[in-house]
């Protein structure tokens, strides 16, 4: 009870701070310095039509690299946390196999879902969506496989390899940016291409594809780790 009271009291204090923000907030009438630069220069400099993608992959690429690392780290730690209590596979209770319909359906659907994911990240520089969304969609494909066939042990080896190789390529491209272009993560490694084309915007599609693969692998890895836990 005291805790609830204290929480309410303190949150009231926080609320008053938030109100200070809310009531003095005035939307910008014009784009500010940073946004103006992006609006004016992205198409010409980077060659991506989706400005958010250009920011995420190139201008603020270091954030994204960090973000990918967050997922990588999370997957690794989830593995560590759960590895502790996991028993050997032989002890695993065999679950009743799911219905034929579901198994077949998922076998049919999963590749399509994964394909959709690939589509989303491949077009990230043109349309909404990109590596993260695509990665999440790929992971949901993997999820489907896991749900349809709980006994199937997803190969960690494959997931880890995809994750590591795409990560290494990502870092490699980033460093190539220092050597060949204007700096770390500069997407001008590859030609800018024609605005709006699939193969345009320099290295962005490549990087976003790598991000998509990596994120997909990381989400899948988290899911696979969780799916291998014992029921308590």
């Amino acid at each position: 009870m005291i805790r609830k009271f204290a929480a309410i009291l303190l949150l009231a204090g926080i609320a008053s701070i938030f109100m200070g923000l809310l009531f003095t907030y005035e939307p910008d009438a014009e784009l500010n310095t940073t946004a103006r630069y992006y609006a004016e220069r992205t198409a010409a400099d980077i060659g991506a039509t989706n400005i958010v993608t250009a920011i995420v992959v190139t201008y603020r690429g270091l954030d994204t690299l960090g973000e990918v690392t967050v997922l990588f780290l999370t997957a690794a730690i989830v593995g560590l946390v759960l590895a502790h209590g996991r028993r050997r596979t032989s002890d695993k209770r065999r679950l009743a196999p799911v219905g034929e319909l579901l198994a077949t359906g998922s076998r049919f659907l999963a590749p399509l879902i994964i394909l959709l994911g690939v589509y989303v990240f491949a077009n990230g520089h043109l349309t909404p969506g990109g590596g993260f969304q695509g990665g999440a969609i790929i992971a949901s494909g993997v999820l489907l496989i896991l749900l349809a066939d709980p006994c199937r042990c997803l190969s960690h080896r494959v997931i880890d390899t995809v994750e590591s190789v795409s990560g290494l390529f990502y870092v490699g491209i980033a460093i190539l940016g220092i050597v060949l272009a204007g700096g770390f993560l500069d997407s001008h490694l590859l030609p800018r291409g024609e605005l709006g084309a699939l193969f345009s915007a320099g290295a962005i599609p490549l990087i976003y594809a790598l991000i998509g693969l990596k994120v997909g692998a990381e989400f899948s890895s988290i899911l696979a780790h969780l799916s291998e836990t014992e029921e308590l």
């Binding site: 805790r3 609830k4 929480a7 309410i8 949150l11 926080i14 609320a15 938030f18 923000l21 809310l22 907030y25 939307p27 910008d28 009438a29 784009l31 500010n32 940073t34 946004a35 103006r36 992006y38 609006a39 004016e40 992205t42 198409a43 010409a44 039509t49 989706n50 400005i51 958010v52 920011i55 995420v56 201008y59 603020r60 954030d63 994204t64 960090g66 973000e67 967050v70 997922l71 780290l73 999370t74 730690i77 989830v78 946390v81 759960l82 502790h84 209590g85 349309t127 909404p128 993260f132 605005l195 709006g196 994120v215 988290i222 780790h225 969780l226 836990t229 308590l232």
Partner: protein, 118 residues
């Protein structure tokens, strides 16, 4: 409109915090945190919104030349993308910790993890 969304975001944050700080069940705490995270994301996007403009994607309706006057600020969106993914990562991690906690104690009561204190 931005203000309404922003107010809703702030309320979600407060509601989420309230839930996270008063529920004793760990899973409920984590659920409450995801609500608060959503609230933060809404506030961030709302800050970048500009009335009467469209998404920062250049296409037939928004030619390059008009971009300056037609699109909204893309930066908050880019930041929110990062924030969402990080939030998801932390949620997954907390869930794994919760599982480990339950495995050891057979309870999800947060008040039972006070061996370390003072």
């Amino acid at each position: 409109m931005a203000q309404i969304a922003m107010a809703a975001g702030f309320i979600l944050i407060l509601v989420g915090f309230y839930g996270a700080l008063t529920n004793r069940n760990i899973l409920r705490m984590i659920v409450a945190f995801t609500v608060a995270d959503t609230g933060v994301n809404i506030v961030m996007v709302a800050v970048g919104y500009m009335r009467g403009r469209t998404a920062p994607i250049l296409d037939e309706t928004v030619p390059v030349a008009d971009a300056l006057s037609r699109i909204i600020d893309p930066v908050p969106q880019a930041l929110v993308l990062t924030a969402i993914v990080i939030g998801m990562g932390i949620t997954a991690l907390m869930l794994a910790f919760a599982y480990r906690f339950y495995e050891k104690k057979r309870t999800l009561d947060i008040t039972k993890c006070t061996e370390l204190k003072w």
